[in-house]
């Protein structure tokens, strides 16, 4: 049984992940701060992290009027993990195949490549989730096997 930390706020994705990890021990955090606090307190308790990219800063009801959505909240968590040396194997789990930024769009593949270089200590890879396809399961299996090796 794996101990999995999931930082994710999308209901659909959460439901699918909960089903996928039904035999594992999962901890769900739906915000940047929730995730960072869990990592800060006991990142060593987990086997790996499933990380969403766009997440709110705090749990619902705790944010400012606009919602404090962090478009690259997942990346900020990766940066915190590197800076604070919370080296927990991490899999990015996203629905976006393209990420719009101020300096043009970055594709899923480019971002994955960039993270592999920048966070080589703990970043394992990325899974592209699509609501109407199940290919992501295969990819996630593959990355989890990689972690276990």
């Amino acid at each position: 049984m794996n101990k999995v930390l999931i930082i994710e706020d999308d209901v659909t994705k959460i439901a699918r992940l909960v089903k996928y990890f039904s035999k594992d021990d999962i901890t769900l955090e739906e915000s940047f701060q929730g995730g960072v606090t869990k990592l800060k307190n006991n990142f060593k308790d987990y086997d790996f992290l499933i990380l969403d990219m766009t997440i709110p800063l705090w749990e619902k009801g705790k944010n400012d009027l606009g919602g404090n959505y962090e478009q690259f909240g997942g990346e900020k968590i990766l940066r915190e993990m590197k800076r604070k040396k919370y080296f927990l194997p991490t899999i990015l789990f996203t629905m976006f195949d393209v990420f719009p930024t101020n300096n043009g769009a970055i594709t899923f593949k480019e971002l994955d490549k960039r993270y592999k270089e920048s966070y080589e200590e703990f970043y394992i890879g990325a899974v592209l989730f699509k609501t109407n396809e199940d290919n992501w399961i295969e990819k996630l299996n593959e990355l989890i096997i990689k972690i276990k090796k």
Partner: protein, 1136 residues
């Protein structure tokens, strides 16, 4: 083909006109043979040279530029070929122009005016002469006179190119026009005219060539081309400016320009720039000494020898002889600085002394230099088309270590040969050889020494110690011997005694540290400079330092320096700054801002740095990322704490800090109001309902009791009012005999129950349906749902029955006609599906369903019952029905519990379940469809669709919480201003593509109101958005709160209107509202979704906020609509 043959061919073609023939020559003959080709037929020259000048304003026209070749050599040669015929006249013009500029700088405006008149009489009206007249007018009679003259020109000149340029000239020479402001205005003007690349290049180059601008034609082919249309004098001035620009840019055309310059300088000897240019670009070791000036060279030599008294005398003499030579200004001021003297006026003219004083102040490098820097920028702007203005701008560029084209342009604008020309040796090796005849001057030798070139100079160059050490440091720096620079300057405290040398020292050290990657030292030095009250330097390039810090992988050496977060705050924010801030706190053993021991912090870092850090680094946007905070409110609490510390540390800025605290409190209040509103959207005043029902059912209850007593005895069942009543579930558990339904006592109870329920659900004052209607169905729900998709530009509104095109994607796909059509079609269909489903939710789902309302079959507020359920309930509880109060209380508790628990659970689960899934399936369908299109990789359409899936989830979750039923009035009184602020935030939230910024003025002490008033204001603001027919940027809204008579406050909503639009329908509607304001008989209409929402407003004012008065007013004029509400004044709750 030989040019003669080509010209013969062109001439033989009788079908072409003369201009067409000339155009063919431009297009077909080699540019090196233009002159010869055009000489072959006298009619060519007659045409080309027929109007070199425009005698009067009325004569002004655009001369024929022929076809644009986009080729530098063709355009340059075409233009110079024409100009060559007028070198003599141009020389005369330049002489008069120099004379004019001299008189201008000496404040001799009458003389200057005469010269312009002479120029106009000899060389006609030109853009140059028009600007000279505007400048004179502004200097003599003020800016209004400048505008009048401009207007005069514009009424006579009907030519867009001239109009644009003259308009720019007029603005640029305005006495009070500052650089920044002109830049913004010019940018707006250029953007507005929407000219093509060629014309835009020309306009920018001619009117404002100081800021960085990427020309469409890199070698200014466009500028040479458009210049053809102007008079000879304008053509020449633009040509020389363009050559200087190009020479700065690249050296590959040097030989090409050399031919023209050699020819021109022999005749146009009044233009010193031609000689400067020739001496630089010629590759023959040729040197023209016409610009050698003994006084100037002596002055330079004595300055670099450290003979400052002598330099002062020589520069004074130089200024008197040539007040247009800006280097004399520099020598004069630098001498005074070196002599550690106060400023001494020279007395040539007030204008010259004013400029000198500012130059002097700039060289003092004190903290008040900005005022002088800005003044000199204005001078540079005003005199942009003179050599003097360009030299001033050159100095300012040098002060900012910006040795770019402006610096270079200033050098070429010098009247004399200056040692600064050696600066070009990096790009043009021949310059050393060319300048051979003057290199024995000390100033040239010092320049070579400073540039790190081979030189015989050794040991003491200058008699002045500080100057000497500075030369040495500059030489090391030029030779890239940075360690030596550092070694030398770190041990030279003597250079700190005068700011002029301190500035050189600090800037060299700073750059050397960066070259050596000594980031910690660079940070410390930056801190010393930034917080020095008596010193300033513009050369400390924090962007470079910032980049170095970002690139640095190991920051441990300098993480604890307070300068690190300070520098980073100048270039970064939010999470980027947070990382540095957090590392800094950690490195200094500060775990949390709350633990900040301010005394020891100030002791460690100094007061000024502490204040800066607290003001600019420890801000909400930075500290919010700290995991110490569980919510935005906690972050705000700490920011308020920081601001309170700042008030103690820096009393001078107390007002600013208090303003920020108040703003935080205001935002907090707005947030609380919106939260209260969201949580209390469903409110039923059960107490009032009970009172009314008790009164109403008194007789019914009496009857019920009488019937009951005469009936047979039944088994009693106790009733626990806290038991949850699930009407739906009860329906299926009936075991009572059918005939019991007819018993008289049961029917008497049933009658009370049904009426009580009817009242609970549909009472116009306190009923559930009124609440659903005013707070949820009326716009709110639909707008909240739609805003999710609007914000992401996925839906458009309808025009008549057709959805409009989506401009955002149309723009992104403007090069892809086919895909745009497909996207537009898909998004229209997407908009329709989203709207259709949203309308279904509002009109069908958010409805009350009872057994009586067959048409509400989808209503999720199910209050269904039947005899089985009711009888069961009656049988179980009848023993407790001992008073009207008791029975009403039990029924209402039961209805409330059903709404509060059973229904709410169901609604939450439907909003987060099936409703979410319907939206998601619509979104998924379109994602799949659009993925099949051939969209460019950076198109954000699919990412936005994906985002909308998560965002609609969040919105549905928020909305599902609206349905929590409040039964007690726990609301506090809030300030009217807070409620208005909150309603603006609410309105903007649900209209993301129609942002409004009302100006709110409260002219009386704010009074207390209930938060529900937010819905009233929201209806007003939504009406403005919907009915004013204006675009968001055109909409101006003013909300004023003021005293009315003795005991009323008047709240006025005023908005502008669209010119020419017929608002008579709105007028009629408002008149009707006014006429019926005190008629409450139709208040139940508020449950119907009326268009303007005034019935709802009346209901909210009457039953929810208890604030309706009998006054209402409105006015509508041609350009403004105003609506006034009146409130009895209530004091604000002291807790608010």
């Amino acid at each position: 083909m030989n040019y003669r043959k080509k010209v013969s061919e062109i001439l033989r073609n009788r079908a072409t006109t003369l201009p067409q023939k000339i155009d063919q020559i431009k297009r077909n003959v080699n540019s090196g043979q233009f002159k010869e080709a055009l000489s072959l037929n006298p009619s060519f020259k007659q045409f080309l040279y027929k109007t070199p000048y425009f005698k009067s304003i009325e004569d002004i026209q655009l001369k024929e530029p022929f076809t644009f070749s986009e080729d530098l050599k063709i355009e340059f040669r075409w233009l110079t070929n024409i100009l060559e015929n007028y070198f003599g006249e141009i020389n005369e013009f330049i002489k008069l122009k120099n004379h004019f500029e001299t008189q201008l700088i000496l404040d001799k405006y009458d003389e200057a005016r005469l010269i312009v008149e002479e120029i106009e009489s000899k060389f006609g009206i030109s853009l140059w002469s028009i600007e000279a007249n505007l400048l004179l007018e502004d200097n003599i009679n003020g800016t209004e006179a400048n505008w009048n003259l401009l207007s005069n020109y514009l009424t006579k000149i009907k030519n867009p190119i001239y109009e644009f340029i003259i308009n720019s000239s007029s603005k640029r020479v305005e006495s009070k026009m500052n650089f920044e402001s002109f830049l913004n205005q010019f940018q707006n003007d250029i953007d507005t005219i929407n000219a093509d690349g060629m014309i835009e290049d020309f306009f920018v180059f001619k009117n404002f060539n100081y800021p960085y601008y990427e020309y469409s034609y890199k070698n200014l082919e466009s500028v040479y081309y458009v210049a053809n249309t102007l008079s000879i004098v304008d053509q020449y001035l633009i040509l020389i400016d363009a050559i200087i620009y190009n020479i700065h840019n690249v050296s590959k055309y040097d030989r090409f320009y050399q031919v023209f310059l050699k020819k021109a300088k022999t005749i146009i000897h009044n233009d010193g720039r031609l000689i400067n240019l020739y001496n630089l670009v010629n590759d023959k070791g040729d040197y023209d000494k016409a610009n050698d000036n003994e006084l100037f060279l002596n002055c330079s030599n004595s300055y670099y020898k450290g003979l400052f008294k002598k330099t002062l005398e020589l520069s004074t003499e130089g200024l008197k002889e040539n007040p247009l030579e800006f280097e004399f200004y520099e020598f004069y001021c630098k001498s005074l600085i070196n002599l550690e003297s106060d400023f001494i006026e020279i007395g040539i003219s007030e204008g010259v002394d004013k400029i000198l004083f500012s130059v002097f102040q700039i060289f003092r490098f004190e903290n008040d230099e900005k005022e002088h820097f800005d003044f000199l920028l204005t001078i540079a702007l005003k005199y942009m088309n003179t050599s003097f203005g360009k030299q001033v701008f050159s100095l300012l560029s040098e002060i900012e270590a910006n040795n770019n084209r402006h610096y270079i342009r200033g050098l070429f604008s010098s009247s004399y040969t200056t040692c600064k020309f050696l600066f070009f040796h990096h790009t043009r090796e021949n310059i050393i050889k060319n300048l051979e005849p003057v290199r024995d001057n000390l100033s040239f030798q010092v320049a070579e020494y400073k540039l790190g070139l081979n030189t015989n100079l050794k040991g003491l160059i200058s008699n002045d110690y500080r100057q000497n050490k500075t030369f040495e440091a500059i030489r090391y720096f030029s030779k890239k011997e940075y360690a030596k620079v550092i070694g030398l300057l770190e041990n030279e405290p003597k250079l700190d005694s005068v700011n002029y040398y301190k500035e050189r020292k600090v800037s060299l050290l700073f750059s050397a540290y960066l070259h050596q990657n000594l980031i910690g030292k660079a940070l410390k030095l930056y801190g010393l400079v930034f917080f020095d009250e008596n010193f300033s330097s513009r050369k400390i390039n924090t962007s470079l330092l910032f980049t170095k810090i970002k690139e640095c992988k190991n920051k441990q050496d300098f993480e604890a320096h307070i300068e690190l977060p300070i520098v980073m705050s100048l270039h970064s924010k939010e999470f980027d700054l947070y990382e540095i801030y957090d590392d800094f706190l950690f490195a200094n053993d500060i775990e949390d801002l709350k633990d900040l021991d301010i005394k020891s912090f100030v002791h460690r870092f100094g007061l000024r740095k502490t204040i800066y850090f607290l003001e600019n680094v420890s801000i909400i946007d930075t500290i919010k990322y700290s995991s110490d905070y569980g919510s935005i409110s906690e972050v705000e609490e700490d920011r308020v704490m920081v601001l309170k510390i700042l008030i103690k540390l820096n009393k001078g800025s107390k007002l600013e800090y208090e303003k920020e605290i108040n703003e935080i409190l205001r935002i907090n209040s707005v947030r609380k109001v919106l939260k209260e509103v969201d949580e209390g959207r469903l409110y039923i005043d059960v107490d009032n309902l009970k009172k009314n029902q008790i009164k109403k059912f008194k007789d019914d209850f009496k009857r019920f009791k009488e019937i009951e007593q005469s009936s047979s005895v039944q088994k009693l069942i106790s009733f626990n009012s806290s038991n949850k009543q699930n009407w739906d579930t009860l329906l299926s558990f009936s075991n009572t005999e059918v005939n019991s339904f007819n018993s008289a006592e049961y029917l008497a109870f049933k009658n009370i129950y049904l009426e009580s329920r009817e009242n609970f659900l549909f009472s116009k004052e306190h009923g559930l349906d009124s609440c659903l209607s005013t707070r949820i169905r009326h716009g709110a729900l639909k707008n909240h749902l739609r805003s999710v998709f609007e914000k992401l530009n996925l839906v458009t509104s309808k025009l008549k029955s057709e959805y409009k095109d989506n401009e955002v994607w149309e723009q992104q796909l403007n090069n892809n006609f086919v895909e745009n059509i497909r996207v537009q079609k898909a998004l229209k269909s997407f908009s329709a599906e989203i709207d259709e489903y949203t309308i279904f939710i509002v009109d069908k789902l958010i409805q009350i369903r009872t057994e009586k309302s067959i048409d509400k079959e989808y209503g999720i507020f199910e209050f269904l019952t039947n005899d089985e359920v009711l009888l069961d309930y009656y049988m179980r509880n009848k023993a407790n029905f001992d008073s009207t109060e008791k029975i009403i209380d039990m029924l209402l508790v039961s209805l409330v519990n059903h709404t509060l628990i059973t229904l709410q659970e169901d609604i939450v689960s439907r909003f987060n379940g099936e409703i979410r899934q319907v939206f998601q399936s619509i979104i998924d369908k379109y994602i799949q469809e659009i993925r099949g299109y051939n969209l460019p990789p950076d198109c954000e359409l699919i990412p936005n669709l994906i985002k909308s899936g998560t965002e609609i989830q969040k919105e549905l979750e928020v909305i599902s919480n609206w349905f929590y039923l409040n039964t007690t009035d726990s609301k506090s009184l809030l300030s009217i201003k807070t409620v208005i602020d909150a309603s603006i935030v609410l309105t903007n939230g649900i209209n993301p593509n129609f942002p409004i910024q009302p100006i709110v003025k409260c002219n009386i002490e704010p009074f207390g109101v209930y938060s529900s008033l937010i819905f009233v204001f929201n209806i007003f603001l939504n009406n403005i958005i919907c009915h004013s027919k204006l675009r968001p940027e055109e909409t101006c809204i003013n909300i004023t709160i003021e005293q009315y008579e003795d005991s009323f406050a008047k709240v006025s909503f005023r908005n502008n209107l669209k010119k020419g639009h017929d608002y008579s329908l709105n007028f009629n509607r408002l008149q009707k509202v006014k006429d019926n304001w005190n008629d409450h008989t139709n208040i139940d209409r508020s449950n119907k979704e009326d268009k303007s929402g005034f019935d709802k407003i009346k209901r909210i004012l009457l039953y929810e906020t208890y604030s309706k008065t009998d006054k209402f007013d409105f006015s509508i004029s041609e350009d403004e609509l105003s609506i006034d509400l009146f409130f009895k004044i209530t004091k604000t709750n002291s807790n608010e």
